[in-house]
Structures are given as structure tokens and as C-alpha cells.
Amino acid sequence: MAPLFYIFAVLAILAALSVVLQRTPVYSALSLIVVLCSLAVVYLLLGAEFLAVIQVIIYAGAIMVLFVLVIMLLNARQETPSDRSRLAGWLGAPLLLVFLGELLFAVWERFPTATTRAAPLPDAGPRAVGALLFRSYVLPFEVTSILILVAVLGAVVLAKKRL
């Protein structure tokens, strides 16, 4: 099981590199779908079976379809680098590397491999997640339903050609 995690971790990182480096937005979107699906497999390997399938259905299967359709609608072409972006690159890249290095170091120090022990695997099937969601977290659940309603209304109004 552990080698599978590393295979899909490497796949996720390569696909994420492709998202960031591709010039054509459609290829970035397709690479992001690969990232989402490999992360879904990683969630499955970490015991979150319900969330893995939800990730594929909602994130890769609905949100990214929206992205791809908007990219097609707006006919997004290849991106040409400008002077501003080159300046940002030269200034920002070392700072980004420092930031990443700090985070990785902090993670390595705080959770050393030898001493961190895992708790027993909880049952993360739909029944268990649903029970928790509808008992302890029912208020955020209802609030997110209002959030989705507001988002739908906002999206429809903003994207209309004529109100």
C-alpha cells in the first residue's frame, strides 16, 4: 500500500508542475484533473473512501467541467510572457523557495517519522461521515446550503449579457 502512495504522490506533483508550467489553459485544466484524481486515490489509501469518491464526483467531475467549459467559451489562447511577469519571476522565485523550504523543515521537525504514531483507522464510510455531518455539524451544513444558493444567484446575474 505504501508504494502506491508514492507512485500517486509523484504523479500528483508532475501533474501540478504541468498545471503551473503549461502555456495553454486547456492543458492546465486537464493536468489539474489528473492532480485531483491522483489525490482522490491518495485519500482512498489514507482510509477516506467516501471523500475520495466525493472528490472525483464534485471536484473533478463538476467544478473542473465548469472550468473547461468557461475556457472553451472564452476561447483562451496561449499565454505570452510579459515584462512584468519576468520581473516577478526573478524577484519572487528565491523568496518562494525560501518559503517552501521553511514549511518543509517545520513539518519535518514537528512530526518526525520515528516518533509519530497513527491512531487506529476510523470507519470513514458514508454512514460514519453522514452521522457526524448531520449530528455535530448540521449548522454548517445548513449554512453551506444557503451559501450555494447565493453562489448560484450571483453566478447567474454576473454572467448574464443583459439583466
Partner: protein, 100 residues
């Protein structure tokens, strides 16, 4: 069993790549996709912690993050469509004037 440090390292790398894309790319749609990449990195961290603490609360948080990401993607893309109709360009270099 995968060490927690490795799961979090993957999460940090994905987050860093998303942040790099967010800062350095000029196309607004690619920037938006890098935001989604950062959200997913955070989701992975939550699931990793949920596994290690034996607690399902992390997975509930991920559930809500996915829902909020969906709402945000819908509204954000609608805004991008509206801005494209007004400015005629998808490069953020053309969006930086505060004048109408």
C-alpha cells in the same frame, strides 16, 4: 503506513506549486486553477491529520472546503466572464487599472 511527514510534505509541495503559479502566471484562468491546487493541498493535509488522529472531523472540514470551492469557482468564473466582456482580455496585466 505512510509517515505523516511525507503526507504533509506532499501537501506543502503542492501548495508551493500552486502559490508559484498564482504569483507568476498572467492568464486569469490559470491563476484560478492554481488557487484550486492550493485548496486541494490543504485538503490533503486535513485528510492526513484525520488519519493520524483517528478523528473524522478532518474529513468533515474537507467536505465543507470542497463545497465552498464549488461555490467560489462558480462565482469566480462568472466574474471572469463579466470582466472579459468588459476588458476584452484575459491577462491580468490588463486588469490593473483602478479606473473604470
Amino acid at each position: 503506513m505512510v509517515p505523516l511527514a511525507h503526507i504533509l510534505a506532499l501537501s506543502v509541495i503542492l501548495f508551493g506549486l500552486g502559490a508559484a503559479g498564482f504569483v507568476f502566471r498572467r492568464n486569469i484562468l490559470t491563476i484560478f486553477m492554481c488557487i484550486e491546487l492550493m485548496l486541494n493541498a490543504v485538503n490533503l493535509a486535513f485528510i492526513g491529520f484525520s488519519r493520524y488522529l483517528g478523528n473524522l472531523d478532518g474529513q468533515i472540514v474537507v467536505f465543507f472546503v470542497i463545497v465552498v470551492a464549488a461555490a467560489e469557482a462558480a462565482v469566480g468564473l462568472a466574474i471572469i466572464i463579466a470582466v472579459y466582456r468588459n476588458r476584452g482580455s484575459l491577462s491580468i496585466d490588463d486588469f490593473d487599472s483602478m479606473k473604470l
